[in-house]
């Protein structure tokens, strides 16, 4: 107990050699990219690149497993890129690319691994087997790694199609669905480690599996995996900020909905002995809505700033914009009820679960049923 009595050591003393190695690799990678490709970037893009160096570094210090993920994804992506020899056709010729780490192959592996992880978490939960659930975590980690590799390689592939076609892979529904799976899984993995409980994996992986189902349908039935050049409205550095911020929001809200479902089941005694206590479920549900709300706020503001540059006004009541506002108001009301009225329990769990419907409509429904200025991914 002696430790608790002392002041926490200053941040820099708490860092290990691995933290420093990680920081050095992030910084040198970023600076290399800047020196090599800086000529093709506008000042804002350079700013984003430079700012992402400390952001990634500190994030890795804060959440240690991210360092390994980053290095593995980076190394394998670089290996994949080296296999192309600058020729897109190698995608179907080189062994590694064809079966493992071309963007499409990696994303399909990601889908398969998420599916497996879901089954594994569920069998672990039902059999009360800690080891099985650990396997579920490992599978989820691998899926995340492969998903990121898929996106990184896809980014590169888009430049192989044409230097003017190349763009960050967050520009259409297919790509953002992959991003959604990855962000949701990472947020979950963070809570899993933080709360030392793997049982909620079974629930959270359900919503990821649903997204995986959509990806597969979209790719196999609609042939949507092709890389398309950007329409002029999307050609902006704002996209790099606005879209990921939004998906941190969507991912968090989805997690909270699944936890709401777990909460409601456990309260009725279903799976109750297998799930963590209601307080823990409730706490994670709140935390994830808090994170989601914060990032959704930022994403909406960034969206408004982008709209002011692209459409001639920061707010046009475009359906997607309006639905973002609806989602935001929904969770603002949720937070008020919980924090101001101090309410807990099933009512908030139902509300969080219902929030998934609102969120899904904003995310997908708007694209399917309403038309507006937002130009990516009509279904």
């Amino acid at each position: 107990m002696e430790l608790a009595l002392n002041q926490p050591a200053p941040l820099f003393k708490r860092l290990s050699w691995f933290d420093w190695l990680f920081a050095v690799i992030v910084a040198s990678g970023g600076l290399f990219a800047l020196s090599r490709f800086g000529d093709f970037m506008d000042p804002y893009e350079k700013g984003i690149l430079l700012a992402s160096i400390p952001a990634l570094g500190v994030f890795g210090w804060f959440w240690k497993p991210f360092r390994t993920l980053f290095l593995v994804v980076g190394a394998i992506s670089l290996f994949a890129i080296s296999q192309y020899h600058g020729d897109l056709a190698r995608m179907d010729q080189a062994f590694f690319l064809k079966y493992l780490i071309s963007s499409q192959a990696a994303i399909m592996w990601m889908c398969a691994l998420f599916g497996l992880a879901t089954l594994t978490y569920w069998s672990g939960l039902l059999a009360r087997s800690e080891f099985t659930m650990k396997t579920g975590s490992a599978l989820t980690w691998s899926a995340v790694a492969l998903g990121f590799i898929g996106l990184m390689v896809r980014w590169y592939e888009s430049y192989l199609i044409g230097t003017d076609v190349g763009h960050i892979p967050v520009s259409n529904l297919y790509e953002v669905f992959v991003l959604f799976c990855l962000i949701t899984a990472m947020l979950y993995l963070y809570y899993e480690a933080r709360y030392q409980t793997r049982q909620m994996g079974a629930f959270v992986l359900l919503v990821i599996s649903a997204a995986v189902g959509f990806i597969l349908w979209y790719a196999l039935d609609r042939d949507a995996q092709g890389i398309q050049p950007l329409v002029p409205a999307l050609k902006s550095w704002w996209m790099k900020l606005h879209v990921p911020a939004n998906f941190i929001g969507y991912g968090s809200f989805s997690i909270s909905a699944m936890l709401g479902a777990a909460y409601l089941l456990a309260r009725r005694g279903i799976l109750a002995s297998r799930l963590p206590s209601l307080e823990v479920i409730d706490d994670i549900m709140y935390k994830s809505i808090a994170i989601g709300f914060a990032f959704f706020t930022i994403a909406t503001i960034l969206g408004a700033m982008w709209a002011a540059e692209a459409w001639g006004g920061y707010w046009s009541w475009d359906p997607k914009e309006t639905w973002a506002l609806i989602v935001w108001l929904n969770y603002a009301a949720w937070l008020h009820i919980r924090l101001v009225k101090g309410l807990r329990g099933p009512m908030l769990a139902w509300w969080a679960l219902g929030g998934l419907i609102v969120t899904t409509f904003a995310f997908l429904g708007v694209n399917m049923f309403l038309s507006g200025l937002h130009s990516y991914g009509t279904l």
Binding site: M1, E2, L5, F293, A294, T297, G312, W315, A333, H336
Partner: protein, 653 residues
């Protein structure tokens, strides 16, 4: 508080309406959609522009007022709490805390207080040391910024709403209410719009658009309001030199750019610049955006073909987009209204979907499944309406270049009766030289009653073997062929089908249809021979290509009867003039909104991620009492309390 939650929910529900019902459409569309009764009811409710409707603004106002009141009420309390260490708590009330922990100690109170204060400060607390008559009280607090967050976030809501209202059309609404301004609904030249529907250049806030053809300029923009518009005078003139669309190699648009020049009111040039999507230009506090593009009056040279004339002669028509021309025909005059010209058309030339390609009228019409691999630029097209003397109009869209379908080439002309329909296509086959002249010649010959006996006779002679010619059979064949040709010339396959239905027993209809089709094809070939001879051309080759040409001509002629126009207009030359659609906005509220957004972000982070909590440690000789409180009890709070309790235990040892 319940009120705040209800407000948030009501605002959310109200916002949904405007996303379900398409906003700010031309009022006519709504009348068609809802019928006159509901149209008016909805208009009264302001559903066509929900977000500017009075009731919506009232909800927003409520939100602003209620949030302000909320801040006003909470502010003094919260501010006091932030500063206060609550060092006046009594031992009794500390004992009543849910989170308390008592430890026995042998240390002197002052010494324990010093080490405990050091510990708490290390944990991020601000500590106040209060000497009491029987010992020492440490009052500590952390996370006061949570309260600051409350102020920031809620003040931000007020700021953002105010900024938004400044940029809204409140001023105009007030002017309209008192009759100072009126919406213009007539379709008249801009210069004739009266002052009551014009806004002065000093108008602080507006968002309007204007289309400028290349080589022209504009010094106003139009604001769409309800079912009309207002004219906003600008403090400068915008001239468009050139509008450009860059394309990717795949044909999708890559960039829209306008080269513009700005002149002040006296005609002096201020600057020239290039606008692009995502790259607006700001002049005199007015932001200029690339918003859209259109045709600016492209000049078109057309060749007209009379589809029902028994000859293959053509005439010329000159026109320009957005202008009208008159065509004189047998059935009276037609007005030709040129609507649009498109230099590029990226179409889905799908991989041979048999079901859709067989029917000539629906080949390209709105294919819903787009397999992007087959997208191709098929070249220019132009759109026009043909209005007959009774005022009825159909819309046409003709491609300039032929398209390849099923391995053969056709000229395509699309037609539709209403703007919400997909185009049905008439496809006219090309000859070996790549022209539609042969089609037109054969069409003329087949429609010409004077040639019919000769065609029928030639057909009958060719159809019979050498030995059987000249007999009864030949006469009968000639007669049948003449009848088939004449029926076909009246309306294509349809009268033939009707004829079969009336005259042939059901069991034999299919066979009869096959026979008639065969007769038509063979007679068609004879007709082509005759037509070529009359035109002093070498006779057609008797090969597959000619066979297809005849067959396609017959199909096309049959479609011609439902095409809906007596002429086909073929685009020969064009001289393109583009127009750029610009949006101009002045929004003084923007910076207020942005500042509010910054506060909102900071506020939300402080509120959600800074935990406010307090610790008291009352030290008396022999024992120490630890108590802890927070406005929000979470698992983290419990954990922290346990930690402090353990720390106290080891400190008191």
């Amino acid at each position: 508080m319940r009120f705040a939650i209800s407000l948030l929910s009501i605002l959310a529900v109200a916002s949904i309406i405007g996303t379900v019902l398409k906003q700010s459409e031309p009022y006519n569309n709504y009348v068609i959609q809802f019928g006159p009764f509901w149209f008016e009811a909805y208009e009264k409710l302001g559903l066509y522009d929900v977000y500017h409707a009075a009731w919506f603004l009232v909800i927003l106002t409520f939100l602003v007022v209620s949030t302000s009141v909320c801040i006003y009420r909470n502010a003094p309390n919260f501010a006091r709490e932030m500063k206060s260490f609550r060092e006046h708590v009594s031992e009794q009330s500390l004992n009543a805390f849910k989170h308390k922990h008592e430890a026995a100690t042998t240390q002197a109170p002052e010494a324990l207080a010093a080490s405990a204060a050091r510990y708490l400060e290390g944990q991020g607390y601000k500590v106040k040391h209060v000497a009491r008559e029987d010992g020492v009280l440490l009052a500590a607090k952390a996370g006061s910024w949570n309260r600051v967050g409350y102020f920031l976030a809620h003040a931000a809501i007020v700021l953002i709403c105010i900024g938004g209202l400044v940029d809204g059309n409140l001023v105009f609404k007030a002017q309209q209410l008192f009759g100072y301004k009126k919406i213009e609904t007539r379709d008249i030249p801009q210069s004739q719009v009266p002052a009551i529907s014009r806004l002065s250049p000093s108008n602080p806030s507006f968002r309007g658009s204007v289309q400028i053809p290349e080589g022209s300029s504009a010094d106003v923009v139009f604001l769409n309001v309800a079912d009309g518009y207002l004219v906003q005078d600008l403090p400068f003139t915008v001239a468009l030199k050139q509008f450009r669309i860059e394309h990717y190699t795949t044909g999708q648009p890559k960039n829209f750019e306008s080269d513009i020049e700005l002149f002040d009111r006296s005609g002096k040039k201020i600057r020239s610049a290039t606008l692009a999507v995502n790259h607006p230009l700001i002049q005199d506090g007015i932001a200029i955006y690339q918003a859209s593009f259109a045709d600016g009056g492209t000049r078109l040279s057309l060749r007209g073909w009379n589809l029902f004339a028994p000859t293959a002669s053509s005439f010329t028509v000159e026109g320009a987009v957005h202008q009208n021309a008159t065509l004189t025909g047998a059935a009276g005059d037609y007005t030709l209204e040129f609507i649009d010209f498109r230099p590029f058309n990226v179409e889905d030339m799908g991989g041979g979907d048999a079901a859709t390609t067989r029917n000539a009228m629906s080949v390209l019409g709105g294919s819903s499944v787009s397999d992007k691999k087959h997208l191709r630029n098929v070249g220019p097209s132009f759109q026009y309406k043909l209005r007959d003397s009774r005022g009825q109009a159909r819309e046409f869209s003709n491609y300039m270049l032929p398209l390849e379908l099923d391995g053969r080439w056709y000229m395509m002309s699309g037609v539709r009766d209403a703007p919400n329909e997909a185009f049905r296509y008439l496809r006219m086959p090309l000859d070996a030289e790549g022209n539609i002249d042969t089609f037109m010649r054969l069409r003329g010959a087949l429609l010409d009653p004077a040639l019919r006996p000769e065609i029928a006779a030639a057909f009958a002679r060719q159809a019979l073997p050498q030995g059987e010619r000249g007999g009864d059979l030949e006469t009968k064949l000639t007669h049948s062929a003449e009848q088939v040709l004449s029926l076909f010339a009246q309306g294509g396959f349809q009268p033939l089908g009707k004829f079969i239905e009336e005259k042939v027993p059901a069991a034999e209809r299919e066979k009869a249809a096959g026979t008639y089709l065969r007769i038509l094809e063979l007679a068609g070939f004879e007709a082509l021979k005759i037509a070529d001879r009359e035109a002093k051309l070498p006779p057609p080759k008797a090969d597959d290509a000619t066979g297809w040409l005849v067959r396609d001509t017959l199909n096309s002629m049959s479609d011609m009867f439902v095409y809906g126009a007596p002429v086909y207009l073929q685009l020969m030359h064009y001289d393109e003039v583009k127009a750029s659609g610009l949006q101009l906005t002045r929004s003084p509220g923007k910076n207020v909104v942005y500042f509010g957004s910054l506060l909102l972000t900071l506020g939300v982070f402080f509120m959600l991620f800074v935990r406010e909590r307090r610790v008291w440690l009352l030290i008396k000789p022999g024992r120490a009492l630890l108590a802890m409180s927070s406005a929000k009890h979470t698992i983290d709070f419990e954990k922290e309390f346990t930690q402090h309790a353990q720390a106290l235990d080891s400190l008191t040892k």
